[in-house]
C-alpha cells in the first residue's frame, strides 16, 4: 500500500509539472504571438473609447491577466486565475466564460474517447489473439495486414468514409449534435440515453475502427512472445486444461498493453478534432477547431489545456491500473 501511495504521489507530481509546463506554454504562446492578440484587443478597446484602465481590466477578464507591467506579474496573475479554474472569457463571443464552455464540452469527448477505446481495445485484443494463434494461416495473415493498414491510415480517412456512407449516402445516423434537443430533454432516462448513444455511435465507431488495428498488432506480438515462455509449456506438461492455459496466456499477454494504453490516449484525444469536426459533434475537439477558425485565442488555449489535462489524467489512471494488475509491481511495497 505504501508503495502504491508513493507511486501515486510520483505520478501526481509529474502530472502537475506537466500541466504547469503546458500552462506556461499557452501563456507565452498568446503573449508572444506575432501581432500579440492581447495587445491588439487592448488597443482596440481604447480606440473604441475606453479608458486605459477599463480596457486593461476588460482584457484581463478575457485572457486572465492585465496586458501591462512586468511579464512575470502577468504570468502569476494567469496562474492564480487558473488555480481558481478561471480560464478567462471567450474573445469571439463576449461574456462566455471559457471554463464553462470547456467543461461543458469535455464530457462529450470523454464519452466518445472512452467508448471508442474500450470497444477497440476489446476487439483488438480478441482479434490479436486470433492473429497470433493462427499466425501461419491465411486468417492470421489477413488479420495482421488489415490491422496494420487500419493502424496506419489516419483517423480522418475512416471518419470521412463512415460519414459519407452512413450519414449522407444512407441517412442511418444523424449528421451532427450530441442529442436531438427538439425531441428529448437532458435527463437520466431511457429515451435520452438512447438518443445520446444514437448520436455518439458513429463518431465512437470511428475512434474504435481507427485504433483497434494498433491493439491488434500490439496484442499479436505480445501473445507471440508469451507463447514462447516456458511457463505455458510447463502448464501444458502439468496437464492444465486448455481453458486454464488460455487464461494464463491471455492475462500475461494483455499486461504489457496497459503501458501502451497510456500512450494511446494522446493520439486518440488528438484524433477527436477530426472526428468531431467531420461528424459535427460538439466536444472539446470541435471547440478547439472552432476557436481556431474564429481566432478566439483564450478559448483555444483553454481547450488545448483541457485536452492535455485529460490525457495526463488518463495516463495516470492507465499506469495505476497496470500497477494494480501486475503483482511484480504491486508487491514492491
Amino acid at each position: 500500500m505504501r508503495g502504491f501511495l508513493r507511486r501515486l504521489a510520483g505520478h501526481l507530481t509529474r502530472g502537475l509539472v506537466m500541466i504547469w509546463v503546458v500552462v506556461t506554454f499557452t501563456f507565452f504562446l498568446i503573449r508572444l504571438m506575432p501581432g500579440d492578440p492581447v495587445q491588439v484587443q487592448y488597443e482596440k478597446l481604447i480606440a473604441q473609447g475606453m479608458s486605459p484602465d477599463q480596457a486593461a481590466s476588460a482584457t484581463a477578464v478575457t485572457y486572465g491577466f492585465v496586458p501591462h507591467g512586468p511579464v512575470w506579474k502577468q504570468y502569476l496573475e494567469y496562474l492564480s486565475g487558473l488555480i481558481r479554474l478561471d480560464l478567462g472569457v471567450s474573445v469571439d463571443s463576449q461574456g462566455v466564460a471559457v471554463a464553462d464552455r470547456v467543461f461543458g464540452a469535455m464530457p462529450w469527448t470523454v464519452l466518445l474517447v472512452l467508448s471508442g477505446i474500450l470497444v477497440s481495445f476489446l476487439v483488438g485484443v480478441v482479434l490479436g489473439v486470433v492473429a497470433a494463434l493462427k499466425r501461419s494461416t491465411a486468417v492470421g495473415h489477413s488479420l495482421s495486414i488489415a490491422g496494420s493498414l487500419l493502424h496506419g491510415v489516419p483517423p480522418f480517412v475512416i471518419a470521412i468514409v463512415l460519414a459519407a456512407v452512413f450519414t449522407r449516402r444512407y441517412r442511418w445516423f444523424p449528421s451532427g449534435g450530441q442529442y436531438n434537443g427538439d425531441e428529448v430533454a437532458p435527463g437520466f432516462y431511457y429515451d435520452f440515453i438512447g438518443d445520446v448513444a444514437y448520436h455518439a455511435f458513429l463518431p465512437a465507431a470511428a475512434f474504435a475502427i481507427a485504433s483497434y488495428g494498433g491493439w491488434l498488432l500490439a496484442m499479436r506480438s505480445s501473445v507471440a512472445s508469451v507463447l514462447g515462455d516456458d511457463f505455458l509449456l510447463a502448464a501444458e506438461l502439468r496437464g492444465l486444461t486448455r481453458m486454464t492455459r488460455f487464461r494464463y496466456l491471455a492475462r500475461n499477454a494483455i499486461l504489457p498493453l496497459f503501458t501502451v494504453l497510456a500512450i494511446s490516449f494522446g493520439l486518440v484525444f488528438g484524433g477527436s478534432i477530426f472526428i468531431e469536426r467531420i461528424f459535427n459533434y460538439p466536444g472539446l475537439g470541435m471547440l478547439l477547431f472552432a476557436s481556431i477558425g474564429a481566432r478566439d485565442f483564450s478559448m483555444m488555449s483553454g481547450a488545448f489545456l483541457m485536452i492535455t489535462a485529460a490525457v495526463i489524467v488518463a495516463n495516470i489512471l492507465a499506469d495505476l491500473l497496470y500497477t494494480f494488475i501486475d503483482p511484480r509491481v504491486r508487491r514492491q511495497a
Binding site: 493498414l149 491510415v153 494522446g266 477530426f274 475537439g285 478547439l288 485565442f297 488555449s301 488545448f304 492535455t308
Partner: protein
Amino acid sequence: MRLSVRQRFWRGVWVALKRRPSRILGVIIMALFVFMAIAGPWFYPDRLPYNVDNMYAPISWDHPLSTDFEGVDVLALVITGTRGVLLVAVAAGLVTMLVGTAAGLYAGYRRGAADSVLMRIADFALTIPGFPLLIVLTTAMNFGAWWKMALVLGLIGWGGLARAVRSQTLSLRERGFIEAARGLGLPTRHIVTKELLPNVAPFIATNLLMAVTGYIYAQVGLYFLGVLPLDTSNWGVMLNAAVFQSGALISPDALPYLLAPLGAILLLTLGVVLIVDALEEIFNPRLREG
C-alpha cells in the same frame, strides 16, 4: 566468394524482399510515390488547366480520375500535390530520427542524470497530444517556410523513437560485447556507431518510415481542417473541398474527387505496411540467412 559489406547488405535486402511477393509490391508502391513527388510536377504546368464547364467529368482517358468542381483533372491534383507534403514529411522525419536516435543512444549509454532528464522530456513529448499542439502552433505561428513546418513536426514526434532506442540501448549495454569493446579501450564514438547503432538500425529505419507517413498525414490533416492556407493543391486541400465545401459526400458524380485522395492515402499506407514487414529481416543477419 568474398563480398564486401555493402554487397552483402544489398543481397540481404533482395533475399528478404523475395521471400514474400507482397514486399516487392510494397517497394513498387513506395517507388511510385517517390517518383510522383520528384518528377510529378514536371509533367504539368504550374497552374493546372481548369474548365468550369467540365466539372465532375465522367471518367475518361483524358480524366482517368474525373475532374474537380472547377474541372481540374483529379489525377493531376493527386500527383502534383505529392511533392510539397512529402518534402516536409521527409525533412521532419529526418529531424525526428536525428533527435530521437541521439537522445535515445545518449540516455541509454550514459545513463544517470542525463538519462533521467532526457527521458522526462521524451515522456513529456509523448504525452502532450501532438495534433492539437500542432494546430495551436500552426495557428499561432503561421509557418511560412516549409522547413519551419518540418522542424516543428520533427520536434513534436521524437519522443517515441527516443524511448525505443533507449530501451534497446539499455538492453544491449547489458550484453557482453559492449562491455568487451569498452574493456578493449575502443573509443566511445566507435562503440556507439559501430557496435550499438547497427543493432538499433531496424528500429530506427522502421520508425523513420512510420514517422514520415505520420507527418504526411498530419499535414494532410491540417489542410483538411483548413488550418493551413488552402492556396496550394494537395490531398488535404482536396479532401477539405470535397467534404466541407463542394458536397462531394452527397453527389455521386463527385465521388472520384473524394475517393482519389483517400485512395492515395490508403495506397501509401499499404506500401509502408508491406515494407516495414521486410525491414526487420533486412537488418537482422540471423533472419537474413535463415
